[in-house]
Amino acid sequence: MLTCKAAPQLSNISTVQHNSHSGIFLSRVFCLRSFFLLLCWLTVFPQDARAVQVHGSPEGLYVHQMAHLFFAAALVFLLLLIHYRPIGKGKAWGYFKLSLFFFLLWNIDTFGVHWLTLRLPEGAIISRGSLMEHQLAGPLTLERLAYYFGRLDHLFCVPGMWFLVLSLRHFSVQSEKQENSAENAS
């Protein structure tokens, strides 16, 4: 009933208003009408909701692995950027590049460990008893050895963080010197 009443009104308006204004007005009215009709149809003929999808358990791991790859790609990008378009020179930048390099190694290592973890059979990790008794069960294949040493990822991320600290320390010292010289100059 509403649309029937609106139609003659619209035709009247379109004759007196500018074309572009009447076009916008018409499109809005048609959108409202379509939405109203869809709502009516869904109310009369209800079905299963399709918007929410349940994900399986590997999805979290995949997302995590993709995040590792994304992080690694960003680090490679930053390393190349600093190498080809250097922002500055000096020890601080050297430490910063080392830091990025170690974090890149750490990413590769952790990505590999996560992947190897999935490949380990059940029972490969023996976690009975105290922590001292936990062990990686044999046979010690190359894959298991890689997993074992890959678990020592802090050997990469701690140096990465260490070099980052050194880099930031140098940056702050340099910045302070520049600030002081600027103050003295002024």
């Binding site: 979290g60 997302v63 995590h64 995040a67 590792h68 994304f70 992080f71 790609a73 960003a74 680090l75 990008f77 930053l78 950027l81 922002i87 990790i125 023996i126 922590l131 001292m132 936990h134 062990q135 990686l136 069960a137 044999g138 046979p139 010690l140 298991r144 074992y148 678990r151 020592l152 990822d153 802090h154 050997l155 991320c157 701690v158 963080m161 260490w162 980052l164 600290v165 930031l168 320390r169 940056f171 702050s172 910045s175 302070e176 600030e179």
Partner: protein, 522 residues
């Protein structure tokens, strides 16, 4: 089957996590310090947020790992199993955040570089703008002063030109391309006998030239040479009299060398020419005087002998009337010859200082008029006197001055013939220390072709036997002997004299002697 103990892994994990926490906090401390030192630096901002992300990563991961050991040691492994996905999820978020930050930093860095380039361009433009602004400000500050200086210079220049233009005693004129006057100074207006400049504006210059050929030559030379120098020409005054002028003129040309007009200066040489003519005349008179003096001296003695013997013969022939009558005719004609010879001697003789004395010129005139006025009145000629009172005496020979007066009055009488007025004016010019005597008549005037010859010896317009042509010549010589000069104007130049009806005026100027310089009433 031999396995590998995981304890070393746990040890590295535990202490590595602890170190990561410490190092990440230290890094965040330095990053914060950097940001505080320079909050606008994008690199420091990026590093700060990178450190924050790593701190979050280190804390979540390391704390998680450490808690794992603690919960296992405390025999609550299921608690760790519950927390583990949260730790992993947080780490995932942190990795993604760090990656996004890195790419975002690159874009921001690019944008900043472009902004910096724009800012540098703006700074350069601003510097140029400031420079221009400074120049404009300087110009604006000094503009008023410069305009004032320029105006003052123009004013001074204009005043100089105006003063030269208005104050010049020579005629300065400007003409357009057609030769019409479009500007003339006051001296030029006065010289040409006009009252206002408007009367001459638009007047064709050729119409002022007496001789048309002279104009053609003047214009041709101006056009071909671009200038005319010392061009002598006679110009026509408003009253019909002539001015003898010397013109120096320059053509005004445009960029294409087309004549747009002319500007010139004309010098009045009328007086100079008259003086030159008089000088020539004086030279002529001097020559004639010397000749006449020689002739007179040689003739005077035989004439004296003729006269003496004639008188002796008259005494011898008293009884014979016809012979006596003849001898008296001879005596009469001989006396006429002696008078002429005496006049010639007077004409040629230099004045004697001993004859000069203090003379009241008005009294001298009155004495002359007392003698001649009766005969003038017989011919209905009346004398109009305008004698200035209180004239200073002059140092002169009174008898010779009277002779001059008689000559000029007789000349006027002969010019009028019958019925007319003879005007006599006297005037003292204190500035020039001169006395001026003007004798005018209402006769027919002197024709221009004759006026330059009237002072020549033996020049007369009277019939044969009626005049010797020596009167004006003798008078001229006497005035010269007294240091004065005689000028004749026909028609008169003075409007008052013209108004009195005079057609001819003789101006006799006599200088005062130093001791006679003060007028009587002073």
């Amino acid at each position: 089957m031999m396995g590998l103990p995981l304890f070393p892994v746990f040890i590295v994990d535990f202490f590595g996590s602890a170190l990561m926490i410490i190092l990440s906090v230290t890094a965040s401390f330095h990053a914060r310090r950097l940001v505080r030192l320079n909050p606008k630096n994008v690199l420091w901002t990026y590093l700060f947020w990178l450190c924050m992300a790593l701190v979050a990563f280190a804390l979540s991961r390391s704390i998680g790992h450490m808690l794992r050991f603690i919960f296992i040691l405390l025999d609550f492994p299921h608690v760790w199993e519950t927390l583990s996905p949260y730790s992993g999820g947080l780490n995932t978020l942190v990795f993604s955040s760090v990656a996004v930050l890195t790419f975002y930093y690159y874009n921001v860095q690019g944008v900043i570089q472009r902004v910096r380039d724009d800012a540098n361009s703006l700074a350069r433009a601003n510097r140029q703008l400031e420079k221009v602004h400074a120049e404009l400000r300087n110009l604006n500050t000094t503009l008023e002063q410069r305009v004032e200086n320029r105006t003052r210079e123009l004013k001074v220049s204009e005043q100089k030109f105006r003063h030269l233009y208005e104050g010049s005693k020579d005629m300065i004129f400007f003409c357009d391309a057609g030769g019409r006057i479009n500007g003339i100074n006051s001296s030029g207006i006065e010289m040409l006998g006009y009252d206002r400049e408007e009367e001459l504006i638009g007047c064709p210059l050729p119409s002022l030239f007496v001789d048309e050929e002279k104009w053609a030559k003047y214009y041709c030379r101006l056009g071909s040479q671009g200038h005319v120098r010392d061009f002598e020409v006679e110009l026509l005054r408003r009253d019909g009299s002539h001015l003898y002028m010397m013109i120096t003129a320059t053509a005004i040309v445009d960029e294409a060398n087309n004549m747009q007009g002319s500007e010139g200066i004309a010098k009045d040489l009328t007086h100079f020419k008259m003086m030159t003519d008089q000088l020539i005349q004086s030279e002529n008179l001097a020559s004639v005087g010397q000749l006449a003096a020689g002739v007179a001296h040689e003739i005077n003695t035989p004439l004296g002998i003729i006269l003496g013997y004639t008188q002796l013969l008259e005494e011898d022939f008293t009884d014979r009337p016809e012979v006596l009558e003849t001898l008296r005719i001879v005596e009469k004609q001989t006396r006429i010859c002696k008078r002429i010879v005496a006049d010639l001697l007077k004409f040629s003789r230099h004045s004697l200082e001993g004859d000069k004395k203090s003379v009241d010129i008005n009294q001298c005139i009155e004495e002359v008029l007392a003698i001649v006025e009766h005969s003038l009145n017989m011919d209905f000629i009346y004398v109009q006197r305008s004698l200035e009172e209180g004239l200073p005496d002059i140092y002169a020979d009174p008898e010779r001055l009277k002779q001059v007066m008689v000559n000029f009055i007789n000349n006027a009488h002969h010019a009028i013939d019958k019925e007319g007025i003879i005007g006599i004016w006297t005037h003292f010019d204190a500035h020039c220390r001169e006395l001026e005597i003007i004798i005018g008549d209402t006769g027919p005037g002197i024709p221009p072709e004759v006026i330059s010859r009237i002072f020549d010896p033996f020049f007369t317009t009277k019939g044969v036997g009626k005049g010797t042509g020596l009167g004006l010549s003798v008078s001229f010589g006497i005035i010269k002997d007294h240091g004065g000069h005689v000028e004749v104007f026909s028609p008169p130049r003075d409007p008052d004299i013209v108004a009195a009806g005079m057609r001819t005026a003789f101006h006799i100027t006599l200088p005062l002697q130093p001791e006679m310089s003060t007028p009587k009433d002073q």
